[in-house]
Symmetry: D2
């Protein structure tokens, strides 16, 4: 399980299942089926669960919307509202008069620009409070928003920029947005993960960076991400599994092939593929051809969800107009 | 062979070799090794060669530069000069007082934007001729340049836009630039193909469009392309081949696996993969993470090559300054 | 009057009035006051009117919306609908099964990018007709759209590109969008002019280009423009007039100043200013600081208006969603 | 003098001269004429000079290059080198192992985007030091770079972001880049001001913000700016002065006009114009039509200057290649 990298807790859980075919101790899973979407809540309850699934303790909520990347505008609005509810369910007990929204990722790389694009569409109000020399107000939440860039662009760790600002403006809550990687192509641009455990920028790439979490920042943080890429080794692995599946009921070659590959553990197979691919595939991604267009669209859905959750009394029609 | 799609003639040739292990009738291949690059000239000489390799009669010259996507600026300049020589070798016998440069592809899709990006950097001079009310001049070539977009954006066939303009401004020669697909990741952003057989925009996607060629346009056309993506089925196929290769000398599982897969023909294997992938992988590409940055860089190399070839007396230092 | 350049017929009319204090022969003017906007229809009826006002015969309809550049989204939608009605009133008698929309102007210059930005948001359908191999259909208008760029970028006259495409795809009607210049700052980004007399790209800059009109294209053309700049001489001139106005009731200096400047004709004053400014003010514009943001907004209003007018049965809510 | 707003100390000095026709106590002025440029060093030596000229004590060096906005690439390189020398002369006595470069201004407004554009082209090295776990090195300066945005976008004061980061990464020196306003159109995009007194973001707009200076940041700061706009009142004022000048030797109207306007002090005239213009001219700028193109170009010149100054051993050819 450790070898198949994914940013989605729901996939870590699936991988564990595939291999062990059993429930995970210390991890609760709750599924809610809607007409157009499925909400899965994975809770890592204790250290045992944390070590089995490779995630910190906390909640991971996944909204899966198979048709999210289609051009159905009503569905998009519906999901913004759904997202705002999930977000509110996680932050309802937090003080949240002053919120800082952070857009993680590299704006120069199409598939990594979700965070910065969302920031362009978040309703910022903190400058109004500054102009009136107030800190908070019952009728409006104090919202600031910025994109710190990435280490390779600024030469500054994301943590240092965010922590520097948090220390200065002292928000009650941080919301961070990031592009994720998934192991399955059909989750790319159709799944939203919301979690209260924080985030480690660029963690997928194997860097050992300072994470953004409640301990390091001193305030609660909610992270919100959408997979935009699948890594190449994962694609090959999963296709081979599909091939095996499709062959196992067929005669001769199929059966042999199946029994042969079936002898390899998931982990062995994945390692083999990575080993073969790595020499010439570093920094290769598998992504929809029009990922920049998709991310533009997704950033509206996410910004809408955040805007509705933070600003009570603002509905979907209002927010759509702010960000068009 | 028909099933493994590639825009590169050099790969069509390779696939033929892999399957038949023999020379291709009616096709000549000439290889020139340089220190940093290899130039391969594939000439399709007659109908027999054309049908075997699936390409029209004509020349396909490939400049392969393994380190082109690294940040060595001297190498980039060297390749611009090399490209200008190859280009000149193909057009040396054509009248070329008036040239129209066309940037094919969709500027909204990062991996498809090579053509439009090159157009931004081509030295345009035709407006000077218009201002002086001249058609041509010994000291300067008359160059116009434009990007017609794609059918899905404009609702107009690329051919209709290009032919409409060719009929109006009557160039002696058309040069078209396009992003290509390759079957091998290591050719992406490292290989330039120059050909005199014309191009069919979007041909890779299985559309039956009107091609841009000497017959349809009424003037010679040189096409110049760089692979920017590998299709997903190709990636899986080639990885499986690498796995087989790496296993064939190993004991037990490896040997069995190898002999098993070896029974499938290349074509069968590829069809199997495509069949499995297609339902959920339409429009998925495999590409370097920073393809938009790479394409920016490549567009400078290509524009430089074209500018040096068309404007005698302009060297690499001059052109670098025009387009910085 | 000839000296004060403006793209708006309504201003040519005003300048004539200011100087002559009388009605213009051969020109009818009709004003319709709405709550949030005023629609003025200037019709140049014959050669006499044409020579007096310096405009070809035809209709010039101006929608003035003083608050259009504010962020009132309801007003924007209202104006899109108003614009669609005005557009329909001009084209109601034309055949319009196949329409070509053209975005004039230089996309590299913020204040000139209105046309290209509108094109990004026009609903294109012609590729669907191509896919179904049809020319027209009762339920849908066949719409193509493109931005030809400007001579300085492509080396090709706008007319040559547009005429080349018109000859190929044979639309029934052309709609052209362009950024205009006004003589008054308060019209910038608040006024829309729609006319059936065609347009000469770059005519404001004193170039003698081939115009786009019914005679030259062979099909009717409707032009639609919004002022985005005031020229610098005009700004100075009008400010001096304001100063004179503000001084004329004041004692001493004011009165003298007024009577003095009042001796100069409008034309003399303007010439004087131009003469003084020109040596060091070529290519200087006066424009709102955030003109690129304003143009983004205006392009949505205009695209909405065109989309509603062309596609019967599509309302404002639908079109807002298409282009967000 | 207080009323004519300008970001350039050299202009504050000129305005003082125009009005008083005498030297400024406590201010030294030194002029160095080059072939293609003039370097003027204005030093505010004490409180008396500071209050007369309305600037803090410190050095203001202006490089004026009348042809900088032309496309002479050799001149641009020459000015990058000149700029690097001026910059070095100001920082030669400072510790500068670790430098933070800050790009001020609003990236959404073309004329205000100089700072952010320069940041894209500054050679960042700090991430290399992080990867090797070092703070400094003899062979390389540790450079970080970022653009904090503006209050209206982020809801966060520029000072809070910059100070937060300075506290975290503790640079020896800060270099800030900003777009300025001038009172004269011929200085726009042709003049570079370098100063060691710090900068107050948005100070021109009359906001009372926390400045960036040695006292507030705790480290020395060098500011570097180029005028990109003239405000509208200034344009009118200066044109009227030109008109008066051009009329004063002419008969009748001219003489009267001249003597009349001559009675008004510079300040009265300017106030009058501002009063007349303000109601409908807030946020209007006077700028070259192609200011976004010019700023792209200028950002290369400035980034080159900074890169050469900070990284010993890097020459103009090297830096041109890094940022192309």
């Amino acid at each position: 399980m450790k070898h198949i990298y994914t940013d989605l807790a729901i996939e870590s859980k699936e991988i564990y299942h595939e291999e062990t075919k059993k429930e995970i101790e210390g991890v609760s899973v709750d599924v809610l089926e809607g007409k157009n979407h499925t909400i899965t809540t994975v809770k890592v309850l204790n250290d045992r669960g944390s070590s089995l699934i490779g995630r910190p303790q906390g909640s991971f909520i996944t909204i899966e919307v198979p048709n999210l990347n289609k051009s159905d505008e009503d569905l998009k609005d519906e999901i913004s509202i759904e997202l705002s509810k999930v977000l509110l369910s996680l932050i309802k007990d937090y003080k949240r008069d002053k919120v800082l929204v952070i857009g993680l990722g590299n704006w120069n790389i199409s598939s990594d620009a979700l965070g910065p694009k969302v920031i362009e569409r978040v309703l910022v109000t903190r400058h109004i409070f500054i102009n009136y020399d107030k800190e908070s107000d019952e009728s409006m939440v104090n919202v600031a928003a910025m994109s710190p860039g990435v280490l390779g662009i600024t030469g500054i760790e994301t943590y240092d920029i965010v922590k520097g600002i948090v220390d200065k403006i002292k928000p009650d809550l941080v919301i961070a947005i990031d592009a994720l990687s998934s192991r399955r192509m059909d989750r790319v641009s159709t799944t939203i993960q919301i979690t209260d455990v924080g985030i480690t920028p660029g963690s997928g790439v194997g860097n050992d960076r300072q994470g953004l979490n409640k301990e390091s920042l001193g305030v609660p943080i909610i992270s919100l991400g959408i997979p935009t890429v699948v890594n190449a080794a994962t694609l090959v692995n999963d296709t081979m599994d599909l091939i095996i599946g499709s062959l196992k009921n067929e005669a001769d070659v199929g059966k042999e092939f199946y029994s042969l590959l079936d002898q390899l553990s998931t982990e062995d197979k994945y390692s083999l593929i990575e080993e073969v691919l790595n020499p010439y595939m570093a920094n290769v991604i598998v992504t929809p051809k029009d990922i920049n267009v998709l991310i533009d669209d997704l950033s509206i859905i996410v910004a809408n969800g955040i805007n509705i959750a933070l600003h009570p009394g603002i509905g979907i029609r209002d927010v759509n107009r702010y960000i068009r």
